[in-house]
């Protein structure tokens, strides 16, 4: 497991400055749902650049459009103004190679865990055309290798109802990664878990990211989670959201739960918290 060794350059991912290729770019992008009098602005004009292999967290008050950004990047929502460029191309209705995971693991109850994890391989080329041939050999090994990386070795043949919530969420991460996406979009993936399980999964996600190095965009309510995992944290304002602040997180990796109680970490948390409290008050007064 040489690749899992922490590497110095992981500490503090560079903010894109032209040297690193831009993986995700939102330029003056806004989203409004509905039309005319019923129009609801979900996202104010937002500009955001995320480099290839970067880990970015989006935090902000509820309903501020964090999930809208994820849905824009994945192509599930079209921008009302501006553009979304992913991997150098504008996102139209075009299919993207992304992995997604939500709070609800949505494992299909009639399939074993390994078959659930292999589901994206049935959809995405080039795996799709090989699926019938390789599902019992190579693809299955691939699924089980991922399961081993998240500490679920030997659980591939179990059914979803035989696993706990934390285990299902680990399997969910495996499903998001099986087709080797260059981009991982996570929408409060650990929101429904208890504190200890959540902290355990932070480490697992960190290991997975260091191993596979996808570009990650994580939406979360949990500031500790954002500070633990991300290389950069974007704080958003209340609806219609826009990005208020970007903070680089330069703690060395792999980070540990113990580090989250150190003064620097706590200070970062408090700074983020102040932004969100302000945003919420502004919303209530406005």
């Amino acid at each position: 497991m040489m690749r899992m060794q922490p590497v110095a350059e992981f500490a503090g991912m560079p903010i894109p400055n032209g040297a690193a290729p831009i993986s995700i770019e939102l330029s003056d992008t806004s989203v409004t749902f509905g039309r005319g009098a019923r129009a609801v602005p979900a996202l104010a004009k937002t500009t955001l650049r995320i480099a290839d292999g970067e880990f970015v967290a989006l935090v902000g008050p509820s309903g501020c459009g964090k999930s809208t950004i994820l849905r824009l990047v994945s192509g599930l929502v079209q921008p009302t103004t501006g553009a979304v460029i992913v991997g150098g191309r504008e996102v139209a209705a075009r299919a993207l190679r992304v992995g997604m995971a939500f709070q609800n693991p949505t494992m299909l109850p009639w399939m074993t865990i390994e078959r659930n994890i292999m589901l994206p391989l049935k959809i995405v080329e080039p795996f799709r055309s090989q699926f019938r041939k390789l599902r019992r050999t190579q693809f299955r090994d691939k699924a089980n290798a991922l399961l081993e990386q998240v500490g679920l070795k030997g659980f591939g043949t179990k059914f979803p109802w035989q696993l706990s919530g934390g285990m299902l969420q680990r399997a969910n991460l495996c499903r998001a990664l099986i087709h080797e996406p260059r981009m991982l979009l996570l929408d409060e993936p650990f929101g429904a878990l208890d504190q200890f399980t959540r902290e355990e999964l932070w480490s697992i996600l960190q290991d997975l990211w260091m191993l596979h190095r996808p570009t990650v965009l994580l939406v979360t309510h949990d500031l500790r989670e954002a500070a633990f995992l991300a290389g950069r944290i974007c704080v958003m304002s209340a609806r219609p959201g826009r990005i208020l602040d970007e903070s680089r997180v330069s703690f060395s990796r792999p980070r540990t739960v113990a580090m989250t109680f150190e003064p620097d970490f706590v200070a970062l948390n408090q700074k983020l918290r102040a932004f969100i409290v302000d945003a919420r008050t502004a919303q209530q007064e406005g």
């Binding site: 849905r71 997604m100 939500f102 709070q103 299909l108 589901l119 994206p120 959809i123 059914f159 109802w161």
Partner: protein, 258 residues
């Protein structure tokens, strides 16, 4: 647990036997005329004696039931899939479907007879029209309950509507579908017999009608027994298929019990 299960089955069997014994005794003690209510023993004897004559009619009834059922299922699945995929289609079509389904099906038999003459065709059509509704509703409901998050995950991968329907929607619908098959086969059977009774010269329904007008009451009851037997058999077959195909939907309960 199997012990308890066995005891339960023994009680069920005992109740059935008790029912027939009580019936037999009731007829014997009250001296009931067999023109009103024949004894079970008479009915069984008639059944055995007339079986060679009944057999072609049994086959006829079964065939019309199955044909109507298969066509009803095909129609129901297609219609259910179309309605279930789109919320708008679901809301739009639902009132009309409820309207159709609430027509007593005996009332449509004369229309089918008018169009196609008496015999097999109206029986098949009655079976079809009576059995497709539960299938439509169950398929549509199963499809409509697919989790939106999972749909997003797959859409973000570039899955087409068909991919999602095939990999997620339809398998999720299977428990609903097989539960509805059990209901539908019973309905189809009712429809077929109904139509045979009104307008046909073949089938168990017709045998019973003819026997009744000849005051051959034991034969009427023998027909009834045949229908009961067939109905139970069809139900059991589809329950077994359901258990095999969609065991995942009930497996959780098994775990808790054992």
């Amino acid at each position: 647990m199997p012990n308890l299960d066995l005891r339960q089955k023994a009680w069920s069997a005992a109740l059935i036997v008790l029912f027939f014994v009580a019936w037999e005794l009731f007829c014997l003690t009250t001296g009931m005329s067999d023109l009103v209510l024949p004894r079970p023993s008479q009915i069984f004897t008639t059944l055995v004696e007339k079986f060679p004559i009944l057999l072609p009619h049994i086959i006829q009834t079964l065939a019309t039931t199955m044909l109507g059922f298969v066509l009803g299922v095909a129609l129901g699945v297609v219609l259910g899939a179309v309605i279930g995929v789109s919320k708008t289609a679901y809301d739009t079509c639902y009132p009309l479907l409820v309207g159709f389904s609430s027509i007593p099906k005996v009332a449509v038999v004369p229309i089918f007879v008018l169009w196609f003459g008496s015999g097999t065709v109206p029986a098949v059509l009655t079976a079809l029209s009576i059995c497709f509704f539960p299938i439509v509703v169950n398929i549509a409901t199963g499809l409509a309950t697919t989790e939106p998050e999972l749909e997003d995950v797959l859409k973000a991968l570039g899955a087409s509507k068909f991919d999602i329907l095939w990999n997620v929607g339809l398998p999720r619908t299977m428990p609903f579908f097989f539960a509805s098959l059990k209901v539908a086969i019973s309905y189809a059977f009712v429809g077929a017999v109904l139509s045979e009774t009104v307008a046909s010269n073949r089938g168990i329904g017709n045998v019973m009608m003819t026997a009744s007008s000849n005051f051959n009451v034991p034969l009427v009851f023998a027909g009834l027994f045949v229908l009961a037997g067939l109905g139970v058999a069809l139900y059991v077959v589809f329950s077994l298929i359901e258990g095999r195909v969609t065991g995942w939907a009930t497996r959780k309960n098994d775990l808790i019990v054992t």
